[in-house]
Amino acid sequence: MEHEDIQGRLEAFHDGELPARERSLVEEHLRSCADCRGALEAWAALARAAFPRPPVPGRAETERFTRAVMARLAPAARPSWDWAFLSARWLVPALGLGAAAVAGSLILPARGLRADLDGLLIAEGPAAAAAQWVAPGGTSDWFETQRVAP
């Protein structure tokens, strides 16, 4: 292989990308050619100076980095409202009180109605009792039936 051919292969030789046969030819040439040897050594020195290997981060640094990335991900990963409030300790008792209040508002007024209905149920059967649920205006809305007459 001619000197110019070897020169054209020096980069690939430096990069370790030559096929085995060509690498052998270049190595043989380098044993006797100071110019090519000098060029390779100069480039290798330049590459070491320009591209030093950066320090490997320690475990603590990697953990800090990971936490920083996860913190930036967290807002986007959350849904539009926070489901966390459902796990609040106060929620179950509050729901219970609310349910009790609703039940109480339904049961207490119904006691008077029930007394009437029980009597009607006993006297005239279910159809007549159900008919009592219809307010004088024709609505079957229970709330309408509770309106106090003027």
């Binding site: 480039w43 330049l46 591209f51 490997v56 991900l73 986007a76």
Partner: protein, 164 residues
């Protein structure tokens, strides 16, 4: 993330030469990778895909920096013949100084800087570089050749201008 942190941060440090910028770029790379996970199709290795994202992040940072005109080549050097790889060791030329090398590196275009970093700092093969940059092996060889010539040209210019 823990598995790839060192390598991604190393690339960003080498490319950007600034600790704070490198940390930002590395974080952005992982964030982009996380958000694009559904588009990872496993044709390349995950590390290659992640490295590609990190490389693009560094390129964007360098291009932003170049637009701010913080570093530029002297126009007078543009007309000189670029030296060849085998001329790197010409007698009388002091090309080994680390600071000179680092300053010359800063004058490279972002694409040339990236391909040289992947090859010289990271030790990637031509195939791996081609996969990361999504180009052919021939394109990698051509880009490396031009990048090395430009680096040598910058070094010669800096050394010749008495900036050692």
């Amino acid at each position: 993330m823990r598995k790839h942190h060192a390598r991604v941060l190393g690339l960003c440090l080498s490319m950007l030469q600034d600790e704070s910028e490198a940390q930002d770029a590395a974080q952005e790379a992982f964030l982009k990778a996380y958000r694009a996970l559904d588009r990872f199709d496993a044709r390349a290795a995950f590390s290659t895909w992640l490295y590609r994202i990190a490389s693009n992040q560094c390129l964007d940072a360098l291009r932003r920096r170049a637009r701010r005109k913080e570093e530029s080549l002297d126009d007078a050097a543009a007309n000189e013949r670029a030296p060849e790889f085998w001329e790197a060791g010409r007698p009388g030329e002091r090309l080994e100084a680390a600071d000179l090398a680092a300053r010359a590196l800063k004058t490279l275009s972002p694409d040339y800087r990236l391909v040289l970093t992947l090859r010289e700092m990271d030790g990637l093969t031509y195939e791996e570089i081609a996969s990361t940059l999504e180009c052919t092996v021939d394109a990698v060889k051509a880009r490396l050749k031009r990048a090395r010539r430009q680096l040598l040209e910058s070094l010669r210019h800096l050394a010749g201008s008495g900036s050692v």
